[in-house]
Symmetry: D2
């Protein structure tokens, strides 16, 4: 019962088969291969718009490189206080952007609101003594399992575009957001104001399956240089292209995400049935957050359930009691359904004791 | 007949099989998986010394990260003027090192000599107005197809260690050097003064198969932070570990390199037989450099031979005539022998006309 | 009545006279002049310990350069949320440190406490996904007019040294702290655990009078390179040395600070007499913070009082009402006493109406 | 007889008097004072064009900040191989530009030629594996005492503008160039294609008297942020503004430069009369370069002449013999004429022995 992360699971068979199929003959290298070109075309098709897409090897690099195209070194990037780019990437965004300031905002129920951004920007009253507000970065689905709707994103976009800021989405779990909202990918990206995104597939069936996708293609000028300088230009690039093609082909990415989201829903509902457990956040996508009694937590662990405890900061003051623990469960398309069922059974059993 | 680069060929079947074999069940992520650990152990065995090894995704990142552990931001790194880190990585070493200066030295027959380094360091007479000499980086085998012998490396080491500088090897084609010299890997690394290396396998059968290997393990302190900050910590790290294990297992890496070097020798000898062609550099490893009449070059291209022309700077003034061209052929273990033979035949045929 | 900042006033006559006196004959340049050397010696005398002192031109550069000697690019520096290095220097600390993360902590009554640091460090649970905790930087006297006592500093030092972190003081208004506490400079620096400081005199009588002073002289290794790289090595350095010497000579620096602190006390007491004004923070040094009714504020401005309004964040939720304003008054040795008295009179007059 | 550098001399009395005169009352700080504004206006007048001018404290910072507005982090800046920005500023340009590559070109008689630039740019054939050619920076007058004429600059501009590169002048000794050529300042700057310059006055009578001057004012967008981030925004900025005003007032800057250039000419002519001394470079401005027999050099030193020996690289192979030395003499408006005459006498005396 491994719910620690969606990255503990492997490569989807179709993605692996695509790597295998690409492994014949010679191919142009360093991004000039046909697979990479076709992956870009396919992403354009998926988003219903001509995009520029650059394959890279990690989500961290995708975020850092994308932000480097949006902020100068003297700029500020606003993120959620628990965003990956804010607290999970060492000082990688600072490296890629040449020292921009990443400012973590407190969200309401795990999401940034226009009001929070406006309040923050009002504090930028020191002229050049402050960094220049350059970009907003949201994660969709968020690190707290929430999903930004098209309306959410448009409202955020209105605030940042009024300040001539750019808008980025970290899509490490983008498929889960699209599947949860049942919208077209365009609806929660460029049609709502997103300029560039980190399109992640590694967590959802890839091996190293990440791309920086530009909807505002003017911003992609010189991005080839940025990727190279970032140490992210892979010589045998055909294998990144092949992964992306297999991932998008026949909507594999969305099928996987729907399975993962379904598992999460099943698990969340089971947790809700227990009066010893609280779910402080809605389960929009494939992550479930819960407050458990520590004794229950110990029993679950003993029974073989793997998951991480989480910083309770987002719950605000008095969020958890001393004998409680705040935890996160992540579900994958590859999570064995029997593991979900076993866990559901455990919850029932242990909650009643 | 593709002699453009060794990276135009694919993944060795054994390496691909290892990726496939690793694709079952769950695994710890972000470098804490068993495969990564075993890859480090295996590298220790290969080098006959306990090393610290960190898997990354590109040779460019391996170089930049390795150098970042050797030079402060106010330091200087000496390299050959045609070293990858000097002229083929955009400003990536500058990014990873926080702005260190990469100084390209002219080599003698494609190799840096102690005398050149001493002359360069003698020019550092401005105190803090100069950067601090921090490291020497050599490529072995070199970008010009030469190989540094243990004696070469020891001589260089003596010069740089006397200045308290560190010593790095870019081993993008390290296997070719080991195979060419028929030495133990330790002989041209730590036993001759190398502190850290970029151990590359991508060109020689891998998919993304690169590691930063520390022989001076004190220098590896905090390298986990550096790799993470560098955007090079892969979530599904088991697949990098599995590649490295397969690559080293049963000396696959050296077997591949021997084949590639053999192809290069065969091709070089054929070229030498033509009185219309000059080979200005010895063919030590798997790269062959030649000066051809342009008319011959055109015929070879027309006959389907792919290879790159090269900057003739290394040949010095008057190196090539107006009707000549300086070119590079790279051979791989995967280059079809029939392609080599066909090219050899072409040379004979075209040289006699 | 200019209480906007202590930097709106000029150069103290003795400091200016020293510049004038230094202006004869030739002198070694770029920091190798006698004045710079003697300034270092004098600082050693002032601190009762052999220090390494490097003259620079701005407090921002002093902070950035000092921090660059304490944190790697993948490190984190903890500061107060309103520290100059956190919110008033654009992304300068990020530039000098190569991208370290500056983390602003909430203080209690304007000062960081050991408990806040411990809580923050407890959140660093992600291994290399977090930056490495590298240094704590406090400002003494603080940006909120408070002073850290020797006991305060020792308590903070205990926490950070236990984590092998380094300890920096931004002393832009250091003289005011020393004067307020009536201690020897050593007491609130190296004897309490400070490793390096930004020693500022510009606000207290200098023209460009700033130094980075190392108490832990091992940390100063290579600082000559850092200063040069930072664009802070002045060619005609004798004029910086001469300023520092004049500033320290005969305790001019402390005499000035005592006058400024006295003015602040006088002003604070006058404000306290009004039942329409609240002073949410003690007036330890030369800055006074007050909450005023907006109508009173308007009258003061109309009467010719210059001062800045301030972010009320430090006051916590509900800190000020809609019809109130939070403001800062800064006093200088050069503030004309009649301006202080006139303002005191205004307060009495306007408060009673 | 101090000919070591023009920065060994002090502040011109008029500049010092201006500092003194500015030292009354309060003034806006951080660049918003009247002196800074008037200095910008005066520079516009001097250049016959509305410029944006930003006062900073060192020439190194001026260069780094100016270049940061011209090159992205993945760009390349071409300079002369002996340019200050290339070899005398540690890695400062790399810091300010976020890691751009500074490429030193060999000049012909101390000056870069269009042909050298074209040859260099022809080597940029690797696409994004090379940095992006972003800017050319020349020093006028050069570090080798030469002067670029309007025609020289226009010819260089044609080459770089054709590549969409920007054009910078390091004007650490700009006054000497203007005086030597007897042209209007506009002729060797914006009218010949210069986009931005480092306007230096410290060597020619200032204390800290440096400005970044934008002729292409669009490039100045956000420069306030760059200066602040660079640690170069001085709080008591009025004293920088006052220096600049005094320096430009009544053409003090050009008068000083003419005196310095005249001294240099006198000294060069004396050296030429000796058949034991060679002057490998014309003496265009205030620097004289000479090849002396070491025995003569020793005698000059013994007689009290101070000057630096210089790297003979610029002289090409076989430039100096083993018993010779290559040296530089720098003359200032403040060099006592009797020192010049004494040296001239020494040369005569020693050459005839």
């Amino acid at each position: 019962m491994n719910f620690a992360s969606d990255n503990v699971y492997g490569i989807h068979p179709k993605v692996l088969a695509a790597i295998d199929a690409a492994n014949k003959g010679t191919s142009a290298s360093y991004g000039y291969d046909d697979y990479s070109k076709r992956a870009e075309d396919k992403l354009s098709e998926v988003f219903g718009k001509e995009v520029r897409a650059y394959l890279v090897t990690t989500g961290t690099a995708a975020n850092g490189l994308a932000l480097s195209a949006l902020t100068p070194s003297y700029g500020a990037v606003l993120t959620h206080a628990e965003a990956h780019a804010c607290v999970d990437e060492c000082n990688s965004p600072e490296m890629f952007t040449g020292g921009a300031k990443i400012i973590g905002l407190h969200g309401i129920e795990g999401k940034i609101t226009p009001a929070v951004i406006e309040k923050t920007l009002k504090g930028f009253i020191r002229g050049e003594h402050d960094p220049k507000p350059a970009a907003l970065s949201i994660t969709n689905s968020t690190e707290l399992g929430r999903v930004y709707t098209p309306a959410d994103i448009k409202a955020l976009s209105a605030v940042v575009k009024a300040r001539k800021m750019k808008f980025h989405t970290d899509g490490a779990r983008f498929a889960n957001a699209v599947a949860a909202l049942d919208v077209k990918p365009a609806e929660i990206t460029w049609k709502s104001g997103i300029d560039v995104m980190s399109f992640g597939g590694t967590k959802n069936g890839g091996m190293l399956l990440e791309a920086v996708v530009f909807f505002d293609t003017d911003l992609a000028e010189d991005f080839l240089y940025r990727r190279m300088r970032g140490g992210q230009l892979v010589s045998k690039s055909r294998y990144l292209g092949a992964q992306m093609l297999a991932y998008l082909e026949g909507n594999l990415w969305l099928d996987n995400a729907r399975i993962a989201n379904g598992h999460a829903k099943r698990l969340a509902e089971a947790l809700k049935t227990s009066n010893r457990i609280r779910l402080p956040l809605p389960t929009d996508a494939n992550e479930v957050f819960a407050v458990l009694p520590k004794v229950l937590h110990d029993k679950l662990q003993a029974a073989g359930a793997h998951y991480y405890d989480w910083m309770p900061d987002t719950l605000g003051p008095g969020g958890i009691k001393d004998d409680e623990i705040f935890v996160r469960f992540v579900l994958s398309y590859a999570t064995p359904p029997k593991d979900v069922e076993r866990f559901v059974g455990l919850i029932k059993e242990l909650s009643s004791t």
